[in-house]
Symmetry: D2
Subunit: 111 residues, 4 copies
């Protein structure tokens, strides 16, 4: 993002030291999020213009589905890279990554 970055590595609070699983699809994820941002602004215009409740609800459902599609895409990237790498490395790290991913699945199912 910044020209100051000299490595693509990041360190999160969980001590991860590598490019995120979505590194290869970052541009696509950002494009989707920008579109979703535009849809949320569109929702504000609909409400501003007193659009009929049901039409606003239909549009919110569309935004929600778009967000869930981003989640599924990110989770797929995460499984293909972060989780698969940890599993391939052997040791307890793989099982820990699987457990962490499953907690994300649970949040996704509940949201």
């Amino acid at each position: 993002m910044s020209e100051l970055d000299d490595s693509t590595e990041v360190t999160t609070e969980a001590g991860h030291h590598h490019a995120p699983g979505y590194a290869g699809s970052k541009r696509d994820v950002q494009a989707r999020l920008r579109k979703i941002e535009g849809q949320v602004r569109g929702l504000q215009r609909m409400v501003e213009n007193d659009t009929y409740c049901i039409d606003v609800l239909t549009q919110i459902s569309s935004v929600t589905r778009a967000l869930q599609a981003v989640s599924v895409a990110l989770l797929s990237d995460h499984m293909h890279h972060c989780v698969a790498d940890a599993v391939s490395a052997g040791g307890p790290g793989g099982a820990a990554k699987v457990d962490e991913a499953m907690k994300a699945v649970e949040r996704l199912v509940r949201s």
Copy 2:
């Protein structure tokens, strides 16, 4: 709804001629949507900064829940006003409004 209204009325493709059910909570709905827009921009920054996949997913779940809460609030307003008014007016209009609201519930459950 009333022939006396002249300015805040809207006419949708379904022929609705009255203020939306959320008229009384419009300011609150707009504040929620602006906050959600800010959260979606925050998501773009997270992705830009290569934030760990799982942390991005957690934040998306938060945005999805916020959107669903807006949907539930709008649907409640719609039921209390648009649907209740149509039912109180008697005739087949009430049942049609209930059917329309139930289709929105189905979309909400599926999204």
Copy 3:
């Protein structure tokens, strides 16, 4: 259900004294629930026979959707009868019924 019933009325803990909203579609609801019960027994056979995880998951999704369809049908009946009747009767009872139905919608969206 029982030959002792001499009235279709029921009194619930909430003080409801009338036939349920699904009175007219009771046979259909029961048929759906019996089919769902059969599907759950089918799931037990699948697990007993060590069916591949993904195939079991696909079948559970099918049962979950069937249950949600029953919920949507019951909620529709409830809105068309119990809620509409309370709203038509005027007074605060209508708004209370709408609030109660909206809590059910929230549980449905979350489940």
Copy 4:
């Protein structure tokens, strides 16, 4: 998976030849499914007794959540065993298993 196994093996249409990922928690899964079957029978009794719509809906939500919990548990077992084994084995089989698991996640999120 191994050519040495001979009895508990199953062959699905996808050509899987090993004990399912839930082999170690089969008893727990079956106990949960039997409880869910009992809950579905309880739903039939509620409907038979003209239980108030909202109370039936609340109970259906409880059953739906129980089913989703079984799905999450099965998916976790599947990831820890079937997916992890395929990834550890190297080759394209791991990515195929991840893709297959992600399709199950999508169905779970949608249901």
